[in-house]
């Protein structure tokens, strides 16, 4: 197990290196220029000013030199300054990281709290009206885009209660009510879609396990149905569910672009999209590396969890 863990951790390095190289190349292939963009709102900024600023930002250096600077920075954990704002990239990310983490955790908790019981009930009550209702509910979550649900949620709150979620983020330890009254809405909207995927997965996974011999044996032993379902069926059907939930969690970390915009949540997804649009190479590179790291790390944790949840899985 130890060797497996060390091996997996070491494998992260080439993966992240590959991501870094790809991001560096793709950003420079895409047309556009951060300096020209920064001055695009005024028609009176001459080309020489733009050229001079490009020089100052190091954008006129040969690509191999820019790449060497970037790699040197990664080794030193120095991701440089944002080309758009001039502030350190780590500072730009730090301010939004807590919000994205909290939103991802809240959404995951809500999704899991919905998906596990609903999925199990749907499986146990297969083909009954309860199953159909849950199916409609979960397919609805898959079919409706989160941003649309978000707009609907805000409109409903404004129209019915003349109230909208707070515009400014307050950390949960400063004011839990204010914090939750901002983040609960996007978490609900995202959590609903997220729960839909997990509910479907839980249902099919539990259904498969319910037909296994050991479940029949458990029932034959006279165990209570709740014990059969929770201890025997659910636990053994959790592997695919955990995979789905974890990967969704990793996605939520930076993938809530539109939902963040709709709810005006100052998270990492919005930051990434703005950075791409502004051709802020340094910020995009750092963010993509961060998201990749989260993905790779969450995958690694899931693989380790497999062994914990299912004793038959052994890593050599």
């Amino acid at each position: 197990m130890q060797r497996y863990i060390i091996g997996r951790l070491l494998l992260m390095v080439p993966t992240l290196l590959g991501v870094a190289i790809l991001t560096f190349v793709i950003m420079r292939v895409v047309p556009g220029d951060v300096v020209a963009l920064r001055y695009s709102q005024s028609g009176s900024v001459p080309q020489e000013v733009i050229d001079r600023e490009r020089d100052q930002l190091g954008l006129n250096k040969p690509l191999h030199e820019q790449f060497a600077d970037f790699m040197g920075g990664i080794v030193r954990f120095d991701f440089g300054n944002s080309l758009w704002t001039g502030r350190p990239v780590t500072e730009e990310i730090k301010g939004r990281l807590g919000i994205s983490i909290e939103l991802a955790i809240l959404s995951t908790l809500l999704a899991t709290a919905l998906a596990l019981p609903l999925g199990v009930i749907a499986a146990v009550k297969q083909d009954s009206w309860i199953d159909y209702v849950i199916r409609v509910f979960s397919i609805g979550g898959l079919a409706m885009p989160s941003f649309w649900l978000g707009i609907l949620a805000i409109l409903t709150l404004v129209v019915l209660f003349q109230w909208a979620p707070p515009l400014i983020f307050v950390p949960i330890w400063d004011d839990p009510i204010e914090n939750l009254s901002q983040l609960i809405w996007p978490a609900l909207v995202v959590g609903y879609r997220y729960s839909a995927v997990a509910t479907r997965m839980t249902r099919s996974s539990v259904l498969e396990v319910l037909r296994d011999d050991y479940v029949r044996t458990a029932r034959a032993k006279g165990l209570r149905e709740t014990v059969v379902i929770v201890r025997h069926a659910l636990r053994n059907s959790l592997l695919p569910v955990i995979t789905v939930i974890s990967l969704e969690f990793a996605f939520l970390f930076g993938g809530l672009v539109v939902t963040e915009q709709v709810f005006n949540v100052n998270g990492l997804g919005k930051l990434l999209v703005d950075a791409v649009a502004q051709r802020d190479y340094t910020l995009v590179q750092a963010l993509v590396l961060l998201f990749s790291f989260v993905f790779v790390f969450v995958n690694f944790i899931v693989d380790v969890l497999y062994g914990v949840l299912d004793p038959r899985i052994r890593y050599g």
Binding site: P31, G32, S40, S44, E48, W163, I168, V262, N266
Partner: protein
């Protein structure tokens, strides 16, 4: 059970009704002094005494890329940052269009008879937020940074001050600008909203101090900036123009999504947005808020241009360019488009209604502005046939911003169909769109320009030769020494009437004869806001009078 089903249906129908577009509100839905009246009138109650106190929360639709106004070209800096700074001169908040008044200057400048020397006295009671007194040395250091920035510091408007030979302090309260040549735009250029006055001592310590720090003489001191979220400031007790500011504090909240902006005003989380809303947003707010909403509208020193890539055929042929401008019925277009997007008035190269605007009667004589569109269409068809491109097709290059670019582009494409021209709408994200415009990688494109003032030197800068002073600005990529000469001549003319004549000559030549780059329809600013906000007068731009010194909040009725 049936009760539950009924309740579910009721909830669903509420949600659906909230999302269904509604009919525009009847004009009576809004108060006569505000939304319901002629939308161009300013609903400013008169005779009220400003109320002290309160916090103004307003929306800014983008985050500031820098704190340094001298280095910025975006409203995203001006809107949150301006309350911390003063200017030498400024636009009058009560006439936010053309009247320049002193800010820290103690009166208008004394101008020498040859119009080459401007002597400016400063008010003696102007304090920086650190308690030091503003002197002429601070003004000189500020303007030297703008005009001749030190190594490593960018100053995008450096070229605007090409006429200035020197700026010096003759005593601690007097600044003297000496010009190389008389310039009609000089006063406007020192009333630029970007020219925040900085501390000479701070600039000496670090020329980049103001990129990441705030320390001015404005009505509000800095509290905090949370990147991407909000910016806030509190009243500066030693502000020189007492009893201003009236507010205790302000908070600029960054909201990019238009739907969320509307929801923020509708729920009164924010009281105003200073850049401008669309007619749809205005109507939605008007329906929802009724008497609680005030609306001001004004024509905007912003316009879209059709840029022709004159380095490729057939757009190097002025007959083709003229045909394409002739086909566009701007008069009908302005009226129709104003109902759905932020364009309205028809004008030439200077803002319609502005001090340099040509009269409609004169404008109508220029190709592309004829009232008789049928005649224009015939003339355009003939020009295309003469040029050998009667069935012209091209890609029309545009950016992926809906307001107003998309409707304006679709309008143009539709107009060109009338003369047998097929244009395909090619939409790109802003960075790629700009790169294409700069690199001549397009045929015909939709360009734009926004300025803070009606000033020919600003609005005509895009029309200078692409290989000269127009490099990076002139996306039609032409060189025209004659036009350069005409632009120079108007810049050096100090008699306002003579200058107007020169500007109109330029318009007739550049738009009508050569059709190098032609304006479409000028933008229209719409500011719907909670009616308790007072002291704000809409201007023809979204850059000036952003220091919030005059704004106050009335008690709710």
């Amino acid at each position: 059970m049936p009760q539950r089903i009924l309740m579910a249906f009721a909830a669903l129908s509420l949600i659906v009704s909230a999302c269904t577009p509604q009919q525009p509100a009847a004009p009576t839905a809004a108060p006569p002094t505000a939304a319901g009246a002629s939308p161009t009138q300013a609903p400013l109650p008169t005779g009220e005494t400003p109320r002290m106190g309160g916090v103004l929360t307003y929306i800014v639709s983008a985050a500031p890329p820098t704190f340094d106004g001298h280095q910025s070209t975006t409203f995203a800096t001006l809107m949150p940052v301006s309350p911390h700074y003063s200017l030498l001169y400024r636009l009058d908040p009560a006439d936010n269009v053309s009247k320049i008044i002193p800010d820290v200057a103690d009166g208008l400048p004394q101008v020498s008879s040859d119009k080459l020397t401007y002597t400016i006295k400063l008010k003696s009671n102007v304090k920086f937020h650190d308690g030091t007194t503003l002197t002429s040395a601070d003004v000189v250091a500020t303007y030297q940074k703008i005009m001749k920035p030190p190594e490593g510091v960018t100053s995008p408007r450096q070229g605007v001050y090409a006429a200035v030979e020197s700026v010096t302090a003759s005593d601690p309260s007097t600044v003297v600008f000496k010009l190389k040549f008389a310039a009609g735009s000089f006063l406007a250029s020192i009333a630029s909203p970007w020219n925040y006055l900085y501390s000479a001592a701070k600039l000496k310590e670090d020329p980049k101090f103001y990129v990441k720090n705030i320390m001015g003489t404005g009505p509000f001191t800095f509290i905090e900036y949370v990147p991407g979220s909000h910016w806030s400031g509190r009243k500066f007790a030693d502000y020189f123009d007492k009893p201003k500011p009236y507010l205790d504090a302000y908070r600029a909240v960054i909201i990019g999504d238009p739907a969320r902006q509307t929801a923020a005003i509708r729920s009164k989380q924010a009281l105003i947005e200073f850049r401008g809303f669309t007619p749809t947003q205005r109507d939605e707010l008007s329906r929802a808020l009724g008497q609680d909403l005030a609306i001001q509208e004004a024509s905007w020193v912003c316009v879209n241009y059709v840029a022709f890539n004159t380095t490729v055929k057939p757009f190097d042929d002025e007959r083709v360019r003229r045909a394409l401008t002739l086909a566009v019925d701007r008069w009908s277009g302005g009226e129709a488009l104003s109902k759905q997007t932020i364009v309205k008035a028809v004008g030439g190269l200077m803002r319609p209604g502005g001090p340099f605007a040509m009269s409609d009667a004169d404008l109508e004589k220029i190709p592309g502005f004829y009232r008789d569109n049928a005649k224009a269409v015939e003339e355009a068809k003939k020009l295309l046939a003469d040029a050998g491109v009667a069935d012209l097709t091209f890609k029309f290059h545009n950016r992926n911003i809906t307001t107003p670019y998309e409707p304006v582009a679709l309008f143009l494409i539709n107009e060109w169909k009338k003369i047998g021209v097929t244009a395909t709408h090619e939409v790109k994200e802003t960075a790629a769109y700009l790169a294409d415009l700069r690199n001549k990688n397009f045929e015909v494109g939709l360009d734009f320009n926004c300025d803070y003032f009606d000033e020919p030197d600003l609005q005509l800068s895009k029309f200078r030769s692409a290989s000269g002073l127009g490099k990076g600005l002139n996306f039609s990529h032409y060189d025209d020494p004659k036009l350069d000469g005409m632009i120079d001549a108007q810049a050096r003319e100090t008699d306002p009437e003579k200058r107007k004549q020169l500007v109109w000559e330029i318009e007739r030549y550049a738009m009508g004869e050569k059709a190098w780059m032609v304006p479409v329809i000028w933008w229209n600013r719409i500011i719907p806001y909670i009616a308790t906000v007072r002291g704000y007068r809409i201007g023809s731009n979204h850059y000036t009078t952003m220091d919030m010194a005059n704004i106050w909040i009335a008690e709710e009725r």
